[in-house]
C-alpha cells in the first residue's frame, strides 16, 4: 500500500510537470487563439475583446495559476471554439478511445506473445525467420499506410468490416488490428529474445528432467518468466499508443479523443489540447502503475515484504 501511495504522489507531480510544459509550449506558439476565433475579417478591437474575455491578456504566470487552481478543483476549462466544458467533451469521447486502446493492446500482446514464443522455440528455423521478417515490416510500416491497406482489402474489396464509425464489435476490429499490428512486431521481438534467454535457464532443464511435456514446460515454466520484462514494457508503451490513436482515429473516423485533439490543434483550442494532453499523461501514469502492481503478482521476488 505504501507503494500505491508513493506512486500517487509521483503521478501528481508528473501531471503537474506535464501541465506546465504543455502550457509553456502552447503559449510559445506563434498562433493567436483570439484571432483564430474572431476570424480573418475581425477588427483589432474585436480580437482584443475576445483576448480579454479569455483572459489571454494577463501575464503568462497568472494564466497558468488560474489554470492550475481550476484544475485542482477538477475544472479543465472551457473550449474556445465549442464553448463547452472541456471535461464534458473528453468524457463523451473517452469510452470510444478506451475501447480502441483495449482492442489495440489485446491484438498487440496476443500476436506478440504467440509469434515471439513460436519464433523462440523454432529459433533459427524457417518460421523464426518469417516471424522476424514480418515483425520488421510491422514495426517499420507507417500506421496510416497499414490502416489504408486494411481498409482497402478487408472493408472495400471483401466487405467483411465497416469502413468507419463506432458501434458494434465489427467496427472495432480494423482500428484495433491497425493499432496493434505495429506494436505486435515490436513485442514479438522482445518476447522472442526474452524467451530464448529463459529457455536456456537451468530451471527449464529441471522442468524437462521432471518428464513434463514440451507444452507444459513452455506455458507453465518458461512463459511466466519471459513475460516479466514485457509487463513493464506495456506500461511504458501506452505513451506510444496515444500517438497511434490520433492517426487511427482520423483514418477510421473513430469518435475518440484523438479526433477531438486533432480538431483542437487546427483551431488552436488551447483548453482542449491541454485537457487531452493531461488525460493522455494520466493514462500513461495509470498504465505504469498497473504494470507495477501486476509485476509482483507474477514475480514473487519483487513482492514487498
Amino acid at each position: 500500500m505504501l507503494l500505491v501511495a508513493r506512486r500517487l504522489v509521483q503521478a501528481l507531480l508528473i501531471l503537474l510537470g506535464v501541465a506546465a510544459i504543455t502550457f509553456v509550449l502552447l503559449y510559445a506558439l506563434p498562433a493567436d487563439p483570439a484571432r483564430m476565433i474572431a476570424g480573418r475579417s475581425a477588427t483589432a478591437q474585436t480580437v482584443a475583446n475576445i483576448r480579454h474575455e479569455l483572459g489571454l491578456d494577463q501575464p503568462l504566470l497568472m494564466q497558468f495559476w488560474h489554470y492550475l487552481s481550476n484544475l485542482l478543483s477538477g475544472n479543465l476549462g472551457r473550449s474556445y471554439a465549442q464553448k463547452t466544458d472541456v471535461w464534458t467533451l473528453i468524457a463523451a469521447r473517452l469510452p470510444a478511445t478506451l475501447t480502441l486502446m483495449a482492442a489495440g493492446i489485446f491484438v498487440e500482446v496476443l500476436l506478440g506473445l504467440t509469434l515471439g514464443t513460436i519464433a523462440a522455440i523454432r529459433r533459427g528455423g524457417f518460421v523464426d525467420r518469417l516471424v522476424m521478417m514480418a515483425s520488421f515490416v510491422g514495426t517499420s510500416a507507417p500506421q496510416f499506410l497499414v490502416a489504408l491497406l486494411l481498409l482497402y482489402l478487408l472493408a472495400v474489396t471483401l466487405g467483411w468490416f465497416p469502413m468507419s464509425g463506432f458501434g458494434g464489435f465489427s467496427h472495432v476490429v480494423l482500428p484495433g488490428v491497425t493499432l496493434g499490428l505495429c506494436g505486435a512486431g515490436w513485442y514479438a521481438r522482445m518476447v522472442r529474445s526474452a524467451m530464448i534467454d529463459v529457455l536456456n535457464q537451468d530451471y527449464v532443464r529441471t522442468a524437462r528432467a521432471k518428464g513434463l511435456s514440451s507444452r507444459r514446460v513452455i506455458l507453465r515454466h518458461a512463459l511466466p518468466n519471459a513475460i516479466l520484462p514485457i509487463i513493464a514494457m506495456i506500461g511504458i508503451d501506452i505513451g506510444q499508443f496515444m500517438g497511434g490513436v490520433v492517426v487511427v482515429e482520423a483514418v477510421y473516423g473513430w469518435p475518440g479523443i484523438g479526433q477531438l485533439a486533432w480538431q483542437a490543434i487546427q483551431q488552436v483550442d488551447i483548453p482542449i489540447i491541454m485537457g487531452v494532453t493531461l488525460t493522455s499523461a494520466l493514462a500513461i501514469v495509470i498504465g505504469n502503475l498497473l504494470a507495477d502492481l501486476i509485476a509482483p503478482i507474477v514475480d514473487p521476488r519483487i513482492r514487498t515484504r
Binding site: 529459433r123 533459427g124 535457464q201 537451468d202 530451471y203 532443464r205 529441471t206 522442468a207 524437462r208 528432467a209 521432471k210 518428464g211 513434463l212 511435456s213 507453465r220 515454466h221 511466466p224 518468466n225 516479466l228 507474477v298 514475480d299 514473487p300 521476488r301
Partner: protein, 561 residues
C-alpha cells in the same frame, strides 16, 4: 555396499558416442562410453571440465541440446529398453519417473516464479496421478530433513538458501521413487559444511529408497566418500573404471594418478610451518622480525544506510565487523570462511576498492581517507587477482596490452622497455613471449589465470590479494597455478592475502591462517596452530566437513563417529 557381480544391473550404457555440431563440422564429444549401474550402487563419474561427464548424464536423460549435440551411436538400456529408440512420450515417463536428476546449480535450477509446493507436486502429478500429491510433497520435504517443511511448500525459491534449494531438488528428484538418480556436481556450488550435510543425506536416502546413484563430480574427495565404483573420464573417453578402493590405491592410468596427486589433502602438510611447493623445492627463507607489509586494524564494512530524520534507511548489514590482521613481507595469510563470511569483502576493502572504516596500512601508508590520486602509488604495491579468469580479462585487448596496461597507468618505462618486461613476465608465469600478441579467448582457464598473475606482477607489487583465484580451475591446473604462486613468492618475496573457501588449498598456501565467520575473524594463528590444534568449534567443523580423498580412511572416520 553392494557388489556389482551379484546385484542386478539397472542401467547399462553401451558404446555411447556423441558429436558436437560446430562451425568447423562435427567434433566428437563422447567416444564409446560403456558402463553398468548395479541396483543400489553409487557410481561416481570423475574427470575435469570438458571430459564429457555432464554430456554423458544429459544423454542418459535425453536432454542433450538438439541444436548442438547429437548421439551418433550406442545404446542406453533401462529395464531392457533402449532409451535412444523409444518415443518422446515414453521418454517423458522415464524422465523424472524412472531416472531423475539433480543439477549443479541449486540457485538457478528451481523456477523463480513458481512456489516450491507447486514445483514438487507437478513432478508427482506427472508420474503418479493427482491424488495426495500435496501429502507426498510434504513427506518428501520431511525426508530430505528440511526445517519447517510445511512452510516451505508455500515459499518461493528465492526465500531459501542454496543448501535448502538443493534439498528441494533432491526431494523433487526422489518424489517418484526413480530407479536411478543422476546427480551432476550436486554439491559443487555449496559451502563445505552444507556439502557434507547433502552428501550424508544422499547416502541415507539411497538406503531408504533403494535408488542407484550416478554421481558426477570433479572432486576426488567427494568420490572417496560416496563411490562404490568409479569411472574416470578424460577428453570424452572412459579411461579407467574400478572399485573406489582400487582406483584410489592402485590407479593404473597415468592420468588417474595425476588427478589423485593433484588433489590437496587436508593435513598433508602437518608438522611444517611454511607452505611447501607441490613439486619439492628448497626451503623458504625465514621472514620473521620484519615490519608488516599490510597491517589492518578494526576494519569495518557496512551495507545499507542509517535512518535519518526524513528517510527510514535500509537495514544495516555488517559485512566486515572489526577485522584486524598483519601480513609480513614474503608471507601468506590464508583467509578462509564460508560464503557470506565477509572474506571477499575484506579483500576488496583492504585495497580501498569499497568504502570501509578502520585503518589499513599498506607498506606503512594508511589508505584511509586517501583520494583516488593519492591511492595510486599505494595500488602499485598492492595488486589483486580475481576468481574468474574468463571475466577478468578484456576479450578485445591483446594479452600483451593487458599486461602492459598497469605499467602505462603508473607511468613505468618506455614503450620498448614495457614490451621487454611483458615478455619477461610471460616467461615468469610459464607462458611464451609470443602470447603477448594473442587474445584471451585463445587461452585455457589456467593460462588466463597465469596472464592475470602476470598483469598483477607488472607493477612489481609487494603484496597480492588473491580472491578465490584457483576456485574456477580444474584440480590439476589448480595445482600448477598454486605452484607458480609459491615460486613467485620465493623468488620475488611477494606477500599474499589468499582468500579461499577451500581448507585444503588454504593449508597448502598459508603461513598464517585467519578463519572468518559472520564478518569477524573467529580464529587466527600459524598454519600449524590452526590445522593441528584448532581452538574453535567452527574451525573444527569446517575441517571435519572437508571430504577426504581416501575411501578407506573415510570408512574408518565414518565408522569412528
Amino acid at each position: 555396499m553392494t557388489s556389482p557381480e551379484t546385484a542386478a544391473t539397472v542401467l547399462s550404457v553401451r558404446d555411447l558416442s556423441v558429436d558436437a555440431r560446430t562451425p568447423e563440422g562435427l567434433k566428437p564429444v563422447l567416444r564409446d562410453i560403456g558402463f553398468d549401474l548395479a541396483s543400489g550402487e553409487t557410481l561416481c563419474i570423475a574427470g575435469e571440465s570438458g571430459s564429457g561427464k555432464s554430456v554423458t548424464s544429459l544423454a542418459i536423460m535425453g536432454l542433450l541440446p538438439k541444436a548442438s549435440l547429437r548421439v551418433t551411436s550406442g545404446e542406453i538400456l533401462l529395464g531392457g529398453r533402449d532409451l535412444l529408440k523409444i518415443s518422446n512420450r515414453a521418454m517423458r515417463q522415464v524422465r523424472g519417473g524412472e531416472i531423475a536428476m539433480v543439477f549443479q546449480e541449486p540457485m538457478t535450477s528451481l523456477n523463480p516464479v513458481i512456489s516450491i509446493g507447486a514445483q514438487l507436486t507437478e513432478a508427482i502429478r506427472a508420474h503418479q496421478g493427482s491424488e495426495n500429491a500435496e501429502a507426498v510433497a510434504l513427506r518428501m520435504l520431511e525426508a530430505v530433513q528440511i526445517t519447517e517443511p510445511a512452510r516451505r511448500l508455500q515459499q518461493y525459491p528465492h526465500e531459501l538458501s542454496g543448501g535448502m534449494r538443493q534439498r528441494v531438488m533432491i526431494a523433487m528428484a526422489l518424489s517418484c521413487q526413480p530407479k536411478v538418480l543422476i546427480a551432476d556436481e550436486p554439491t559443487t556450488a555449496l559451502d563445505v559444511t552444507v556439502q557434507a550435510q547433502i552428501l550424508t543425506l544422499m547416502r541415507e536416502l539411497k538406503t531408504e529408497f533403494g535408488t542407484s546413484i550416478v554421481l558426477i563430480t570433479h572432486d576426488m574427495g567427494v568420490v572417496a566418500e560416496m563411490a562404490d565404483r568409479v569411472l574416470i573420464m578424460q577428453g570424452g573417453r572412459l579411461i579407467e573404471q574400478g572399485s573406489a578402493v582400487a582406483i584410489f590405491n592402485r590407479p593404473e592410468q597415468p592420468y588417474t594418478r595425476q588427478l589423485l596427486a593433484a588433489v590437496p589433502r587436508l593435513g598433508a602438510h602437518a608438522g611444517t610451518d611454511g607452505p611447501p611447493r607441490i613439486t619439492p623445492q628448497p626451503a623458504q627463507p625465514p621472514a620473521e622480525d620484519r615490519t608488516p607489509i599490510m597491517n589492518v586494524q578494526d576494519l569495518r564494512v557496512t551495507y545499507g544506510s542509517p535512518a535519518s530524520r526524513f528517510l527510514k534507511g535500509k537495514p544495516q548489514v555488517h559485512a566486515v565487523d572489526g577485522v584486524s590482521f598483519d601480513i609480513l613481507p614474503g608471507q601468506t595469510l590464508g583467509l578462509v570462511g564460508e560464503s557470506g563470511s565477509g572474506k571477499s569483502t575484506t579483500g576488496k576493502a583492504v585495497l580501498g576498492l569499497i568504502p570501509s572504516s578502520g585503518d589499513v596500512l599498506i607498506d606503512g601508508r594508511n589508505i584511509a581517507g586517501l583520494s583516488q590520486r593519492e591511492m595510486r602509488p599505494v595500488r602499485r604495491s598492492a595488486q589483486m587477482i580475481f576468481q574468474d579468469p574468463y571475466a577478468s580479462l578484456d576479450s578485445r585487448m591483446a594479452v600483451g596490452a593487458a599486461i602492459a596496461e598497469p605499467m602505462v597507468i603508473h607511468g613505468i618505462g618506455s614503450k620498448s622497455e614495457r614490451q621487454d618486461r611483458v615478455a619477461d613476465l610471460l616467461r615468469r608465469v610459464g607462458l611464451t613471449p609470443d602470447a603477448a600478441t594473442r587474445y584471451p579467448h585463445e587461452f585455457s582457464g589456467g593460462q588466463r589465470q597465469r596472464i592475470c598473475i602476470a598483469r598483477a606482477l607488472a607493477v612489481e607489487p609487494k603484496i597480492i590479494v588473491a580472491d578465490e583465484s584457483v576456485a574456477a580451475l580444474d584440480v590439476s591446473v589448480r595445482a600448477r597455478v598454486l605452484d607458480l604462486m609459491l615460486e613467485l613468492q620465493e623468488t620475488m618475496g611477494l606477500a599474499y592475502l589468499f582468500i579461499s573457501h577451500d581448507m585444503a588449498v588454504i593449508e597448502r598456501m598459508s603461513h598464517h591462517v585467519a578463519v572468518m565467520r559472520g564478518g569477524k575473524i573467529v580464529e587466527t594463528g600459524t598454519r600449524r596452530e590452526i590445522f593441528e590444534a584448532p581452538s574453535q568449534e567452527y574451525t573444527r567443523a569446517l575441517m571435519a566437513a572437508v571430504p577426504i580423498p581416501d575411501p578407506e580412511l573415510y570408512q574408518k572416520r565414518a565408522g569412528a563417529n
